[in-house]
Amino acid sequence: MTARAEAFLRGIGLIKDFAPLVYIVAHGSSSANNPHHGAHDCGACSGRPGATNARVQAFILNHEKVRNILAERGISIPESTQFVGCMHDTAADVMDYYDEDVLDETNGQAHLLNIQRFETALNLNAKERSRRFASINTKQELEQVRKAIHNRSVSLFEPRPELGHGTNTLAIIGRRQVSKGLFLDRRAFLNSYDYTTDPDGSILSAVMRPIGLVCGGINLEYYFSRVDNIKLGAGTKLPHNVMGLFGVANSSDGDLRPGLPWQMIEVHDPVRLLVIVEQSPEIVLQAIQSAPAVFEWYQNEWVHIVALHPATQQFYYFRNGVFEPYQLLTAASEIRTIHNMEEFIEGAREMETNHIVHATEENLPVYLLD
């Protein structure tokens, strides 16, 4: 238990300055009448919701004996700090919190306040998601948008309860300060990693191990399903027939269909994942070369990788086995700024049809938020 807890905390760089309340948020997706609902759940949990993992992790980190051993190994968690496991239902935009009764009085009250903050965040998240759904009027009140989003997840007739990882293109591995104030239009995997706690790159090796497998795997699943939805993807899901509780086929004598259905990928642009790591290129190279199974993702260019040197802020792009300095094509001054997020979302363009030419028009460039 302690080993798990330690690897977890060191991996995300959370080894000092603990807040009194730490939330471990799993994700899952609830949708009615959807044979592909597993594809909306956690890929790293074999297509299941991660709620159990979050709850167990919180239990481990709240455990007194675990904390004692962690303190011996140099991670001292203050007694006032408590961990709460919770789950975000990404289709319904609902949060669920587990074992709230272990919280002490102060944390309990802080938790009640935090729930309100989570609700606000969920409202805004629902609003941001709603711009992709033609059946929801984005300009409604936040609560109404949220309700409409929730209704999708319980509707028997909704083939698009959520868009899942559609449009994913980026994985940013670093401190959250790196991407603060950036509007990435829901396209990035954000992985916490603090280079200052990892001068020799031993933690980075552990962090990089699942990146290709999980983020790269998801990206390529969408990529190939989009490139040829009829052969490599599952085609439209409307005629699908569930076969033997393990797959879908068309009608009674069709073959099993691989990949993702059309309704999940229609907004996705087929681009390979770009992994950005905030660490010096030498250490990144060493990290990705630590295991052949990790290295082949980058060596064979299934995904792109860029190292952001923390000291010089120079980007290094990995190609042909080496990291080379990368010259930026866009000057920082060219990136526009969003002043009012809600207005911006309401004003975003909606696709006319789901033909690939129109679908791409819906994607937004990178903006700064002020």
Partner: protein, 618 residues
């Protein structure tokens, strides 16, 4: 109330034409039209039922208009409303409402959004026409429209191979029912010497029992049971039903889960007064129903896919309904029908959820399976169920294959010289038949028989041809000419107008189809029937025109040929068994040949590789 009944047919029909005016991306207006249609439809169904109840449950009988009338033949649109209609219309209206609402969201942004709603509106028209019909002719119009709607929805994903193949399978079964209904009408006409409506069936029964030869009534009853058996997927035709579930889930739900598949039950209920006193007919229906119930249940319990299971379970329940009808429990049947229709619609609509339900169940209530020896009986049934009792293979091998082989024997007809000679000969014989001397002994000459067999051979050739599509299409016209000539030689006198009805419809359809095929041949030198070309992908409008042409070619109720064919039947006497069998087969294969050309040229995976092309097996 009688006049109002027409509204139930008119409203969805008008809505159908209204939706044609919009493009696929205008989802809102299309959805609005469908919304109005579905609400009015349900309102009318309730109104009729209420009216009928307040009026003391008396059947309503209404003759709308007479389309054609001569001294020996009357073609009238006739409506009828009684308790059977009441249950079918209420159930149908509610289910249509539910499925249309469901589909509005489900079909959102689908490439066939408009097509889908066009088709189900037309289906609703056909359904209402069938259940409100007061005579065989009216019923038959609805029956044919419904068949086409079925075909279009099975082949909804027309750029894949399997939907095209399975749509053809369903259509070939449907055509059996169409032709047998035509034959039933023909014999009924000869039995009564007039066209009769459903309320007169009791009278017809008395006449049938009074005639000395039982053959006529046996024939009529068989030709009433056969369409019901085919349409309701009863033994041995059960296997088309699961294969028809190729379209979007919601269309499968309304067609093969509920309304379409129960039409056989409706037909048996309607015609019951005619055969209620014939013990052998009842036994036959009970045997068929029981066989279906048993075989389909075994299949449903072992099939790996959820929709197949639902389809077979539905067929099994309909088997039980057949038994109930034969035993005379009519209110029980109506209850059973409504229950089964609602249940299967619901089950099909939520069939994608089966994964959630059962996988969750396995996670939370897992018990390790206990391994024990399986009895030999159980294993046998299991294998039979998995293989669907080999019904599909048997039907193919002994039902279709012989005709294909027969058609292939006449492969030499592919030659242009034969094609032209035969057409000229046909026209010549047509003229000769029209101007034949009054003293001509048609029964003795064998001329009608000879000409009809030529027609059948030509249709069989077109049906199995793997050569140029235009040749096959050409032979369909020549075949029609030979049929006409055969009928001319068979009857002492034929009205010119009746000839004209038939010939005009077929000729227009032929020219339209010919133009479409020429257009495609201009684009692509090769339009042989040996493969699927998938031209609807590039030439959608031409494909639609050819669909109209194919429908016109087989006497679908869009051209006057429809009335013409029914009239022609009356010129064949009730004792000309061989001739009528050949005419039936000809009309059967003309549809199959025409639809086969449509499927091969316009449907299926597109041959050019710059389009996305699905694997054949998906």
């Amino acid at each position: 109330m009688g006049q109002l009944l027409v509204l139930a047919v008119l409203v969805p029909l008008l809505a159908f034409f209204a939706t044609l005016l919009w493009q696929n991306k205008n989802e809102r207006p299309i959805a609005w039209i469908v919304r109005i249609a579905k609400v009015v439809n349900i309102g009318l169904a309730v109104l009729f039922a209420a009216w009928w109840i307040l009026d003391g449950l008396k059947p309503v009988d209404y003759q709308l208009l007479t389309l054609y009338k001569s001294d020996h033949f009357v073609f009238a649109l006739h409506f009828y409303y009684d308790e059977i209609t009441a249950v079918f219309s209420l159930t149908g209206a509610v289910l249509f409402f539910l499925v249309a609402t469901f589909s509005k969201y489900y079909m959102h942004r689908d490439q066939g959004f408009k097509r889908f709603f066009n088709t189900i509106l037309l289906f609703s028209t056909a359904y209402n026409l069938i259940i409100l019909s007061g005579n065989f002719e009216t019923l038959f119009i609805g029956w044919e429209i419904k068949g086409i709607c079925s075909f279009l929805l099975i082949a909804f994903y027309r750029d894949r191979y399997l939907p095209a193949k399975n749509a053809f399978k369903a259509v070939s079964n449907y055509r059996i029912s169409d032709v047998s209904l035509m034959l039933a009408m023909w014999m009924m006409h000869h039995l009564m010497n007039q066209n009769i409506s459903f309320p007169q069936l009791g009278l017809a029964k008395l006449t049938a029992l009074a005639t000395t030869s039982p053959f006529m009534s046996v024939f009529i009853v068989c030709m009433m049971i056969l369409p019901a058996v085919v349409k309701s997927a009863q033994f041995p035709f059960t296997t088309w039903l699961p294969r028809a579930l190729e379209g979007p889930t919601s269309s499968s739900a309304i067609f093969y889960g509920s309304l379409s598949v129960h039409i056989g039950v409706f037909l048996l209920l309607r015609t019951h007064p005619f055969w209620e006193d014939m013990l052998w007919a009842k036994i036959l229906i009970i045997v068929i129903g029981a066989l279906t119930a048993i075989t389909a249940t075994v299949i449903a319990r072992v099939q790996p896919t959820v929709k197949t299971q639902i389809a077979y379970s539905s067929a099994a329940q309909i088997g039980l309904m057949f038994i109930e009808i034969a035993l005379g429990f009519h209110w029980l049947v109506l209850l059973h029908f409504a229950g089964n229709a609602f249940l299967r619609t619901y089950q099909l609509l939520v069939s994608p959820s089966v994964l959630n339900y059962l996988v969750h169940h396995q996670i939370f209530h897992y018990t390790a399976p206990v391994h024990k020896a399986v009895s030999r009986w159980k294993a046998t049934l299991y294998v039979l169920g998995i293989k669907e009792w080999n019904l599909d293979t048997i039907l193919y091998r002994y039902g279709w294959k012989p005709f294909k082989t027969m058609g292939a024997v006449f492969g030499f007809l592919q030659n242009k010289v034969f094609a032209n000679t035969l057409a000229i000969m046909g026209v010549f014989l047509l003229i000769a038949g029209y101007n034949k001397p009054d003293s001509f002994q048609s029964q003795v000459s064998g001329m009608p028989m000879l000409l009809m067999s030529v027609a059948l051979v030509l249709f069989l050739f077109s049906f199995s041809s793997r050569g140029r599509a235009i040749t096959a299409w050409w032979y369909l016209l020549t075949g029609h000419i030979f049929i006409l000539a055969a009928v001319l030689f068979n009857a002492p006198h034929i009205y010119f107008s009746e000839l004209f009805f038939y010939a005009s419809g077929v000729l227009i359809a032929f020219l339209l189809g010919y133009y479409c095929l020429l257009k495609i041949e201009r684009i692509d030198q090769d339009i042989s029937l040996s493969r699927f070309h998938g031209y609807v992908y590039e030439q959608e409008n031409t494909g639609f025109l050819f669909l109209l042409a194919a429908m016109g070619m087989l006497g679908f109720p869009i051209t006057a040929a429809f009335i013409g064919i029914d009239v022609l039947f009356t010129y064949i006497h009730s004792d000309q068994y061989v001739l009528i069998a050949m005419l039936g087969l000809s009309l059967f294969f003309v549809e199959l040949a025409a639809f086969r050309i449509l499927l091969r040229i316009f449907f299926g995976p597109h041959k050019k590789l710059y389009h996305p092309v699905a694997f054949r097996s998906t």
